[in-house]
């Protein structure tokens, strides 16, 4: 084993960081607050992958890293490791969330209706060049209906179960503190479903999209349809340690998606619909649609090699994958020097063989 020492390293490292910050200009608290106000989808992505809901700190992380999202996610993960876990919240369900968007591509007449909510899905994708020179004039207050939408909108899957299209669900009685937890236990395969869904919740958006898109293009055996996409504000409900009262400590943005596939024989021997599922902190539809397709693909008896559980979950971990990737730029002089020694010896041996007419 050998090590490499760097002379002048401390001064150079300090200067390198100073240069990085000088080129990116200083940011102030007002800029951080503006990020939080104006770029919620960016922060949702950082918080979802960072596995920590903290909008103020996510904005700070984005500002501090000049917008390098992998670095921002790493900062959030590092911060969370300094904090004690003070409670487990009650599991989110449809009754504890305020839903602002819920659509289904598979069924048009669903209980609660199709609600587009806040979206650019049907908007023209053109740059508003006029806003680069003056304040945004396009901000119109959306129209109000006379009465509000239902705050609690039932799941499409519940409707399928009521109509017999899907197998009934057995409620999971696992207390929150006993749910398998990736942050405390290593990921082993086959993973408990709780760990699979937790891994997908904090997975890299781009990584999940790449693998999911490969499946959509045909490198896989499923052809699903979106059963439901939902954006909501979910209550974080905790228990008063003295009186036991369950109360809401506030709300977080939350999204979940389901895809539905062809019939599968259920436990009762009858054909039924099969769902794939994913959810995350924040609103991130593309990640969840891809992840819920991968959830289905991973359950196939013989999935494509790129859609096995081990392949998907191991390669979509944003901190591990980006960290492993960038470690390659750190000094590898000794290990690569060893490779060069071996190469030189092989070349010398080849030349010697040539001279002696061997081989």
């Amino acid at each position: 084993m050998a090590y490499v020492a760097t002379r002048g390293g401390e001064r150079a490292i300090q200067s390198a960081e100073a240069l990085y910050r000088w080129l990116n200009r200083q940011y102030d608290p007002g800029f951080v607050r503006d990020l939080e106000t104006h770029l919620p989808y960016l922060l949702d992505r950082v918080m979802g992958e960072g596995s920590l809901w903290a909008p103020e700190l996510a904005a700070l992380a984005v500002a501090q890293t000049g917008g390098d999202l992998y670095e921002a996610v790493l900062l959030l993960r590092a911060y969370r490791s300094t904090q004690p876990r003070i409670a487990y919240a009650e599991p989110i369900d449809s009754g504890s969330m305020l839903t602002v968007r819920r659509i289904s591509a598979a069924f048009k007449d669903i209980p609660g209706g199709q609600i587009l909510g806040p979206t650019l899905d049907y908007s023209h994708r053109v740059l508003h060049l006029q806003n680069s020179a003056k304040p945004d004039q396009s901000l119109e207050s959306p129209e109000n209906a006379r009465s509000g939408a239902l705050a609690t909108i039932p799941y499409v899957a519940d409707w399928h179960r009521q109509t017999g299209l899907m197998q009934p669900l057995k409620p999971d009685p696992t207390p929150p503190a006993e749910i398998p937890d990736l942050t405390r236990d290593p990921l082993l395969f086959p993973a408990p479903r709780a760990q699979r869904l937790q891994a997908l919740a904090r997975s890299d958006t781009g990584g999940v999209l790449a693998l999911g898109y490969a499946n959509m293009r045909g490198y896989g055996g499923i052809h699903p349809t979106v059963n439901e996409v939902r954006l909501a504000y979910a209550q974080v409900q905790v228990k008063h340690p003295v009186t036991g009262a369950v109360f809401s400590a506030g709300r977080v943005r939350y999204s979940q998606a389901e895809v539905v596939t062809k019939f599968k024989t259920g436990a009762d021997g009858k054909p039924a619909l099969e769902l794939g599922f994913a959810a995350t902190l924040g609103w991130n539809e593309v990640k969840l649609i891809a992840a819920s397709m991968l959830d289905t693909a991973m359950d196939l008896p013989e999935p494509h090699p790129a859609h096995t559980e081990e392949f998907v979950l191991s390669h979509t971990e944003p901190v591990e994958s980006s960290g492993f990737c960038i470690h390659y730029k750190l000094p590898h002089y000794v290990t690569f020097g060893s490779d060069l020694d071996a190469l030189r010896k092989a070349r010398a041996q080849a030349e010697s063989n040539e001279r002696e007419g061997v081989g």
Partner: protein, 148 residues
Amino acid sequence: MSRGLETGAFDQAFWLGVLARADALEVKAFTDGLLPALEPLGLEVLENRTGLVMLPSTDTAKGSRFHLGEVLASESRVRLAGVEGYAVCLGRDLEHSLAVAILDAALQTGLEIELIQTFVRQQAEKLEAADQALLRRVEQTRVEMETF
């Protein structure tokens, strides 16, 4: 929705939920105004820290519970006139959760109860109005799909 507004219930879950979501500056200012009356009764801060709340969700495909991620929160515990008050608020504003914990203890003890109830109900109405305004805008985005 702010539970209690519809039912008229004014219980601990209601006031803690409302005060956690209410404007932190208003909660802190209101509590500051009560301190001269409360402090002589014996007010002790037992805990005031930030930490993480693990948030589980429920898988609608197979029914499993799983952890979605953690939520940064401030947690405070106080003792006021021998009664323990508690609060958890999202974010890391320790003064916010401390103020809510003091109000929690005061309400359990029955101190300044009318003033605090009025304040909590006013905050609940503001939150409810904001929710209703949002839901009316959400309703405007409802579509009816037709197949031709």
